[in-house]
């Protein structure tokens, strides 16, 4: 294979003369040697035998001079034509950049020509020489024979490729140089196409051909001169003026055996290398499949596929793109690149869209040519693109490195396998992600529901607790008077009683019945407390409110101090009186006998939202045991009571403070507890002078009522 060697600016190329035995291959080389190197500065190495013209091969180094800034060094080879030297032919053919097929025009040798051409094709295949890349030039030699077929006839034997076969009589130097120059043209044109952009920038194709003509011009002149001179044509035997081994059969046989062994060794080595390469490729495929198959993560699946593809086909970089018509190309993931090298460029994107429109895997052999640009993108030469099945618009792309990277059919086949695996992997990822989303949603729902249930359970427990407390209180509050009634009634029924004892027992029954009645009233109040309290405030005198409250609990033992007996407030009188009565009742339960309960009423301020309003502070003070700090909020809860449940529980079901606070709040006020200086409790109700939350109609009524008073 040709090499553009930048180091010594030399293009090394290989031209092989192929054809049936005794068809004139060596004669071609000898003639060429004679024409181009009359002084014999180069050596034609040829091994001859008596029976076969060429046993091993002929080698003619050939310097074409400078073309496109490169020295072009050609090596011209012939192969042995005999059928049994197939292995040698194959080895010599390896790496050829162009082939000259020298056909023997003798009609008797038609089948030999055909067989040789078959052998050439087979050997090119074996050597992975792409007929599209390696040109074959046909020559019809021995046109001077009596039974010579015309070039057209030869083309009929050999097929359409041989259509432009060059007529030649190599022994007379006819057609030899033409064949060679044609081969050089064809070969360099192909090599130019395969070269990197910089080399191609050095000169256009036309310049290349012109240069080739220029190089060969002196040789053509010399050939013309030789033909003009009658003494010029030399007999073929005399032409073998290069280094030629003649005759020594032992030497020939040794060489032949050596060549055969070398050829076989080369074959075995090549086979071993191929097997190693295949093993490596298989291992990579295996690893890739394991990685793609073992992961549930999109990134790992995509990365695994790209890496398997890129490293197996020898790519410089690769990418996974989403290419949908009418949509911007989306870069999904890259291997050895941070973005697709073509996507960002308009022409590159257009090329990708064209490839995608084909909907089938494709190889773009020459990116620079496909893009219509002199410079291929960032050192890349070829593109391999395969669609990912079932993943609409997704394409796996691999880029071969410049200057001469390329993709073969096996690469495409492998890429399709990888794309199939990627499709399976992506589908698995998609299902897994959907499953994970569902699982997360479910988990969230379960958590929410659990929290709801937990709250509901806590609320339920609190309700249960309140109910238990209520029932325990009520039970005690009703069992005690029932015990009195049962005891007294039993006594009256079963025993002879003196009149005064009879009186006493009746009084016990009546008193207990009253206690039961109060508990019944408590019960009814408890059943209404759950609902909204809607006060109906109306202007009234503060003194009247206090008096009504005292009247509810019985006047005795209460001392009242009121800052202004005439003070007016706008409250729901009966509701505030009830709240105050509850406080008085409570104070009486805890206060020691003979200690009066004090009611102090003073003007105050109440800070509402954004404003300070005039208020009244009503305090109820006792000299009881006070409330333990830990109970100071609890006592305002429904059915909660202060004191030890066994020794300090006051009578009642535990609703008084709860109700008082609800009523105070309904007026826009507060009810709070504080320790009384010198021992005891102080419950203070702080109420705005005008209840702050009346409805609009009530507000209008208050205004109508107040107007005459103010006037």
């Amino acid at each position: 294979m040709a090499q553009w060697s930048r180091g010594d600016r030399t293009l090394y190329a290989k031209l092989v003369y192929y054809g049936p035995a005794l068809g004139g291959k060596t004669t071609n080389l000898v003639s060429l040697h004679r024409i181009t190197d009359p002084q014999g500065t180069r050596k034609l190495l040829s091994l001859n035998t008596a029976s076969d013209r060429t046993l091993f091969f002929d080698l003619l180094p050939f310097d074409l001079g400078t073309i496109l800034g490169y020295r072009v060094a050609l090596k011209l080879y012939t192969v042995p034509g005999q059928v049994r030297y197939e292995a040698t032919r194959r080895v010599v053919l390896a790496g050829a950049d162009a082939v000259v097929f020298v056909a023997d025009s003798s009609r008797a040798r038609r089948d030999d020509n055909r067989a040789s051409l078959e052998s050439l094709r087979a050997n090119m295949r074996t050597n992975r020489l792409d007929p599209g890349r390696v040109p074959v030039i046909f020559q019809c030699n021995k046109q001077d024979l009596e039974d010579a077929a015309s070039p057209q006839e030869v083309a009929c034997w050999l097929g359409p490729e041989a259509e432009h076969a060059i007529a030649a009589v190599a022994v007379r130097d006819q057609g030899v140089l033409e064949t060679f120059v044609a081969a050089v043209h064809a070969m360099l044109e192909r090599l130019w196409a395969l070269a990197d952009a910089r080399t191609r920038r050095a000169g256009a194709l036309e310049a290349l051909h012109a240069r080739i003509e220029q190089v060969f011009a002196p040789h053509r002149e010399r050939l013309g001169a030789l033909r003009a001179s009658p003494a010029a044509p030399a007999p073929p035997a005399a032409s073998r003026q290069a280094m030629v081994f003649e005759g020594d059969d032992t030497l020939q046989q040794s060489l032949a055996a050596g060549v055969r062994l070398g050829s076989e060794l080369a074959q075995v080595q090549e086979q071993a290398r191929r097997l190693q390469r295949e093993a490596r490729a298989l291992r990579r495929i295996h690893e890739a499949l394991v990685r793609v198959g073992a992961s549930f993560e999109r990134e790992a699946v995509e990365q695994g596929a790209l890496e398997a593809l890129g490293s197996t086909v020898g790519a410089a970089c690769g990418s996974l793109l989403c290419l949908l018509p009418e949509k911007p190309a989306r870069f999904e993931r890259g291997w050895r690149c941070h973005d697709d090298p073509l996507r960002a460029r308009p022409e590159g994107l257009a090329l990708l869209q064209r490839v995608a429109a084909g909907r089938r895997s494709a190889i773009v052999e020459d990116l620079a040519q496909a893009l219509g640009e002199p410079v291929p993108p960032s050192g890349l030469r070829a593109l391999l693109a395969v669609p990912v099945p079932a993943a609409t618009g997704h394409w796996l792309l691999a880029y071969a490195p410049a200057p001469d990277g390329q993709f073969a059919e096996e690469d495409r086949a492998f890429a399709e396998v990888v794309a199939g695996q990627l499709a399976v992997g992506l589908e698995k990822v998609r299902l897994y992600e959907a499953l994970a989303r569902q699982r997360d949603a479910l988990e969230q729902a379960v958590q929410q529901r659990t929290a709801q249930l937990r709250r509901a359970y806590a609320e339920q427990r609190e309700l249960e607790r309140i109910k238990d407390r209520f029932l325990a209180n009520l039970s005690h509050e009703m069992r005690t008077p029932l015990t009195s009634i049962t005891g007294a009634a039993t006594y009256l029924q079963d025993y002879e009683a003196a009149p005064e004892q009879r009186q006493e027992m009746v009084a016990v029954i009546l008193s207990a019945a009253q206690a039961l009645e109060r508990r019944l009233a408590d019960l009814l109040r408890a059943s209404t407390l759950g609902g909204e309290v809607s006060p109906t405030p109306a202007p009234c005198r503060l003194r009247e409110v206090i008096e009504e409250a005292c009247g509810l609990v019985g006047e005795g033992g209460i001392s009242v101090s009121l800052f202004d007996p005439q003070a007016l407030v706008t409250w729901d009188r009966s509701l505030i009186a009830r709240a105050l009565a509850n406080l008085l009742d409570n104070a009486r339960k805890f206060s020691p006998p003979n200690e009066p309960i004090e009611v102090r009423v003073v003007p105050a301020k109440l800070s509402g939202p954004g404003e300070v309003v005039p208020a009244v502070a009503i305090s109820v003070l006792d000299r009881g045991p006070g409330v333990r700090p830990e109970d100071r909020e609890r006592i305002f809860l429904p059915f909660e009571q202060g004191g030890d449940p066994l020794t300090g529980k006051p009578p009642g079901v535990g609703l008084g403070l709860h109700e008082a606070r609800i009523l105070a709040r309904a007026h826009g006020g507060v009810l709070r507890y504080q320790e009384r200086a010198g021992g005891g409790s102080e419950f203070q109700m702080l109420l705005p002078r005008t209840a702050s939350c009346p409805s609009p109609e009530q507000a209008a009524a208050i205004a109508a009522h107040s107007a005459p008073a103010g006037a």
């Binding site: 325990a472 039970s475 005690h476 069992r479 005690t480 008077p481 029932l482 015990t483 009195s484 009634i485 049962t486 005891g487 007294a488 039993t490 006594y491 079963d494 025993y495 002879e496 009683a497 004892q501 006493e504 027992m505 016990v508 008193s511 207990a512 030890d644 449940p645 066994l646 020794t647 300090g648 529980k649």
Partner: protein, 131 residues
């Protein structure tokens, strides 16, 4: 039944409970004495040994459980049967009362006749400890 009327100490803070019980016990041939709290109860014990104590659980000051335990811890009074009376109506209170050493536990409201039967039974048990 002993020749003299058995003395029954009734301890309850509520006079309306105490008083009918006192009258019934007297009519049944007992000798009732009363106390309205723990302190009074201890005073009565010092004044003369009762044959049985009817003890309310919920009282201001010292509660019935504690008082019962204290009586049963005193070697002089340990043998006196104690019947606890409770208006709390909780099953746990019965266990707590028996744990405090009470001989019986009666929930309010009780039938006075039933209570009298229990008093007699407790006295009989106390009179013949082997039975």
């Amino acid at each position: 039944m002993p020749a003299t009327a058995p003395r029954i100490l009734v301890v309850d803070d509520d006079a309306f409970v105490r008083r009918p019980l006192e009258l019934i016990l007297r009519a049944e041939g007992f000798d009732p004495v009363t106390a309205c709290n723990g302190q009074e109860c201890r005073q009565r014990l010092e004044q003369g040994r009762p044959d049985l104590i009817l003890l309310d659980v919920m009282m201001p000051g010292e509660d019935g459980f504690s008082l019962c335990a204290r009586i049963k811890a005193d070697p002089r009074h340990r043998a006196i049967p104690v019947i606890l009376l409770s208006a709390r109506g909780q099953e746990a209170d019965r266990e707590r009362g028996l744990a405090a050493g009470a001989d019986d536990f009666v929930s309010k409201p009780y039938s006075p006749r039933d209570l009298v039967l229990r008093v007699r039974a407790a006295l009989a048990r106390a009179a013949s400890p082997g039975a």
